[in-house]
Symmetry: C2
Subunit: 257 residues, 2 copies
C-alpha cells in the first residue's frame, strides 16, 4: 500500500522538487509555421475584461484566444489522421492516469548545437540505453536539445524551406512506439517532429507513429537540462476540451532532491 | 529520501488512483453571470483550423476562445483587488510547488440540497475537525455540495437576484486563511463564493480573503463525492498565461486504492 501522506510531506519539505518545464504563454511566443496553403494556429491573444475598474471594480480578468497547439502543449492521438479512429483519442476522453508518468531524458544538446536539422536515430537511443538501461514501458521519452535556451528568431529558426529544428527520424519513432511502448515523446522545439519533417517518409513521423499508436506528444518544453536521465515524473494535464486535438499545458516534473 | 520510483509504480499498478475532477470544457458549459453593467467572461468558442482536409490533410486542430475563468478553473491572487500588489500573484509567477497539495473535503451535500443559498460557517468546519482532525496548513479545503450532479439550468441556478448556489460565509473564509493557513478553497459551483455573495460583507468573501492572503481558488470542480475527507492530493496546474488572473485547468486527485 502506497502512502500518499509521505508523498505530500516530501513535497512540502522539499525532498521532492517541482520543476516547471513550461514557457510563459504570451502573445509573442511563436507558433508553428506551416506551408501557406494550410490553416494556421492562432498565437495567444489577450483581451482584458476588467482590471479593478468600471467593468469590474474589485477584479481583474481576461478573455484569451489561442490554438490547441500554442505554447507549451500536448498532442492527443486524434490530432493526426493515423489516430483518428482510435478509442478515447481526444483530450477529454483519454485515460487520466496517462497524465502522470516517468521520463527518460536523452541529451542531444551537442548534436543539435552542431546541426539544427539533427535527427535522432535508433543508434542514439541504443547508446543512451547502454548507459542508463532499457527504456521502460509507459515512459515519456524527452529529447533534450537545449533548444529552449535559444532567444528570439533562433528559437523557431525559420530559414530556407521553413523551420530548421532537431527531431526524431522515422525509424526511431516507430521503434520507440512499437518496441519500447513509450507513452509519448516530448521536445523543446515547436513540434514533436523536426522542422523539416514534412520531407521524411512518412511525413511528420513523430506525429504519424505516436498518434497512430495512441500515444501523446509534448512540445515547447523548456529546461530539460534540469532533469536527470531517469527518475523524473512528468505531470502534463491537457484541458478537457470537448473532442480537443491537444491543449496548451502547464508541464511539471517531480524530481528527487 | 523519498522514492519517486515507488510512486511511479503505485500509479502504474493502480494502488494510487487518479480521479478527474474536471468538467468537460464545451461551448454550452455556463460561465458566471455578473450584473449587466460589468464585463462578462466568454464561454468556450471552438473554431476548427483543419480536420484531415484541404486546410490540413493529415491533421485536425482548433483555435479556441474562452476566459481565464471559464469551465473548471483556478483563481490566482491578482484576480482580486485584495491580492493585486502581492508578489508572484499571477498564474505565470506563483510558486509551482503550490500546484500539488493535499485536500480536506467537507461534505455539505445535505445542507446544499435543503437550501441552495447554504453558507458554510466556522461551526461547520469545527464539526468536521471533531471527526477528522485539525485542517493542516497548506491544504486545499474543498466544499462538497454535490452541485456538480445538477443538470442543465439547475447548475447555474439563476433566479430572483442572480445565482442561488452555496458557498462560504465571510467569517469562515477569514478563519480558514488566517487560522488554518489553507492553500486554497475549492467548490463544485461557478465561483468559490456563494451565488448571492455580492451581498455579504465584504462582498465575495472567498475571493476577498483568499486572494488577499495570497491563496488560490478552484471552482466548477466535479465529483468531490469520490474523495475521502482527508488523504487525497490535488494536482491543479494553471496555464502559464503572462500576468494571468486565473486559468481553465484539468484538476486531478490522487487517492489511495
Ligand atoms: N507538425 C504539425 C503539423 C501540422 C499541425 C501541427 C503540427 C505540430 O507540430 C503540432 O502538433 O503543434
Ligand atoms: N465571483 C466573481 C466575481 C467577478 C469575477 C469573477 C468571479 C468568479 O467567481 C470567478 O473567479 O470565476
Amino acid at each position: 500500500d502506497f502512502d500518499l501522506t509521505t508523498f505530500a510531506s516530501a513535497l512540502a519539505d522539499g525532498s521532492v522538487k517541482v520543476i516547471d518545464l513550461t514557457f510563459t504563454l504570451s502573445p509573442d511566443f511563436p507558433v508553428i509555421v506551416l506551408p501557406p496553403e494550410f490553416g494556421q494556429a492562432s498565437p495567444l491573444r489577450i483581451e482584458q475584461i476588467s482590471r479593478y475598474d468600471a467593468a469590474g471594480p474589485a477584479w481583474y480578468w481576461n478573455n484569451i484566444t489561442l490554438s490547441e497547439h500554442t505554447g507549451t502543449h500536448f498532442d492527443a492521438p486524434i490530432h493526426w489522421f493515423t489516430g483518428k479512429d482510435l478509442p478515447n483519442n481526444a483530450v477529454d476522453t483519454l485515460p487520466v492516469r496517462d497524465l502522470i508518468a516517468p521520463a527518460c531524458v536523452i541529451d542531444c544538446s551537442a548534436q543539435a548545437a552542431a546541426d539544427p536539422d539533427f535527427l535522432l536515430g535508433i543508434a542514439d537511443v541504443e547508446a543512451w540505453e547502454e548507459r542508463h538501461g532499457r527504456i521502460p514501458e509507459r515512459n515519456w521519452v524527452l529529447l533534450r536539445t537545449d533548444w529552449s535556451k535559444r532567444q528570439g528568431r533562433d528559437y523557431a529558426n525559420l530559414g530556407e524551406g521553413g523551420p530548421h529544428t532537431p527531431g526524431p527520424d522515422s525509424a526511431v519513432m516507430r521503434w520507440l512506439v512499437e518496441e519500447r511502448g513509450i507513452i509519448g515523446f516530448g521536445t523543446e522545439t515547436i513540434g514533436t517532429d523536426a522542422g523539416q519533417a514534412a520531407h521524411l517518409d512518412p511525413p511528420y513521423p513523430a506525429h504519424h507513429f505516436l498518434h497512430g499508436g495512441g500515444r501523446y506528444g509534448l512540445q515547447c518544453l523548456r529546461d530539460l537540462d534540469l532533469l536527470p536521465p531517469t527518475g523524473a515524473i512528468i505531470i502534463a494535464t491537457p484541458l478537457k476540451i470537448v473532442n480537443g486535438s491537444g491543449s496548451p499545458v502547464r508541464v511539471l516534473a517531480l524530481v528527487g532532491a
